[in-house]
Amino acid sequence: MNINFTLFINMIFFVGFVWFCMKFVWPPIMAAIKERQDKIAEGLAASERSAKDLELAQAKAADMLRDAKTQSAEIVDSAKKRHAEIVDSAKDDARSEADKIKNGAMAEIDQEVNRAREQLRSKVATLAVAGAEKVIERNIDEAANNDLFDKLVKEL
């Protein structure tokens, strides 16, 4: 353990290395570490914020969903009501239409019957005249008979 000039040379090295470290090594690396720490802190804060946002959005979505459900239930109810109304009115319409058709048909039938009766009447008259003509033949005064037949036709 003999102290000599070596000590002072190494002290110069020491000063040099410390100076170098202080000037060129420590500040940039520390700055990088600091920047990264800031970034991480920022990222964590942002994630926390977004988690909160997510929670809010979820609550909002649940609200909207509930609203939509009630709304849709209302719509379904009103649609059912409307459906029933439409069905009822259609039933009424159909009934009245059917009545109308039935009435028309009835009237037509009546007309047909009347017409047939008229035809029958006129045909019966000519038939009766023809029959009487055949039965009585020539000895009957046509004019007197015509009066008689007219009377008969009117009675029919």
Binding site: T6, L7, I9, N10, V18, A31, I33
Partner: protein, 282 residues
């Protein structure tokens, strides 16, 4: 033991504890015959290894610093940052002032001393043997087993202690700290009588700081190195000695991994503590 047959154990040990020296004598600068040279001797091996390791530290860390990435740091950068955060935390825990020197100083001390201590784990004979093949007679590869190196560090710290004591407290405050503590009295006469006593105690306390710093590191590493050398001697004693010595060498080396980190850490920590004390005003 890279021994030749004509070397005894004592010679071997002495050889291993001998620095490669160059010194100024009456015949000019000579190599390795420096018993009479005294102060003007230079331990070339210690200085070269110390300088190379310090430069390695600076270069390795500077490469990270030059393109330090905020995102996606590489492996080496992560490792360096791990050391940075460790040192930074140690400094912030202890030193509560604002001084841009303390942290880089602590980092330099820690890594540099660690690297110098690490040379202890290189097999004792490897580098001296290589050097002898290259024609260099003596080589002591662990700079921290050289008291010059440890004292150069601790004296550097000592100068900083004095510098900051005076800078923070003023010259009068620094002298006051040396003379008015730990004993003080309200009586002026008694106070004057107490000044020499205080000065004696405080100056011993102040001087003990660099001496203890340097000697602690030197003592630990020198003893460790000596035990490595003794084990190496044991390994030359037959086949049994070789096996036993090998096992002992391994165990001591594993234990030494702890010692070298610990000593580097203690040196750094005490440096921070001393400088923090220098900054505190009473």
């Amino acid at each position: 033991m890279a021994s030749s047959e004509n070397q005894t154990s004592v010679e071997y040990i002495k050889h291993h504890l001998q620095n490669l020296q160059v010194c100024k004598t009456d015949q000019g600068w000579v190599w390795n015959h420096c018993e009479s040279a005294g102060f003007w001797t230079i331990h070339v091996d210690s200085l070269i290894v110390s300088f190379l390791l310090g430069a390695l530290f600076c270069f390795g860390f500077w490469r990270v610093a030059r393109n330090a990435k905020v995102e996606n740091p590489g492996r080496w950068q992560s490792f360096v940052e791990m050391i940075f955060e460790f040192v930074d935390k140690s400094v912030k825990d202890t030193f509560h002032g604002k001084n841009p020197l303390i942290a880089p100083l602590a980092l330099t001390i820690f890594v540099w001393i660690f690297l110098m201590n690490l040379m202890d784990l290189v097999p004792v004979d490897l580098l001296p043997w290589a050097a002898s093949q290259a024609g260099v007679g003596y080589l002591k590869v662990v700079p921290t087993t050289d008291a010059n190196i440890t004292f150069s560090l601790s004296l550097g710290v000592f100068l900083l202690i004095i510098f900051y004591s005076i800078k923070v407290k003023g010259f009068g405050g620094f002298i006051g700290e040396l003379t008015l503590h730990p004993f003080s009295s309200s009586n002026k006469f008694v106070q004057i009588l107490l000044i020499p006593v205080n000065f004696l105690m405080e100056s011993i306390g102040l001087l003990a700081k660099p001496v203890s710093l340097a000697l602690r590191l030197f003592g630990n590493l020198y003893a460790g190195e000596l035990i490595f050398i003794l084990i190496a001697v044991l390994m030359s004693a037959g086949i049994g000695g070789f096996i036993g010595g090998g096992i002992a060498y391994m165990i001591w080396a594993i234990f030494h991994i702890l010692v070298i980190v610990l000593q580097a850490f203690i040196f750094m920590m005490l440096t921070i503590v001393y400088l923090s004390m220098a900054h505190e005003d009473h």
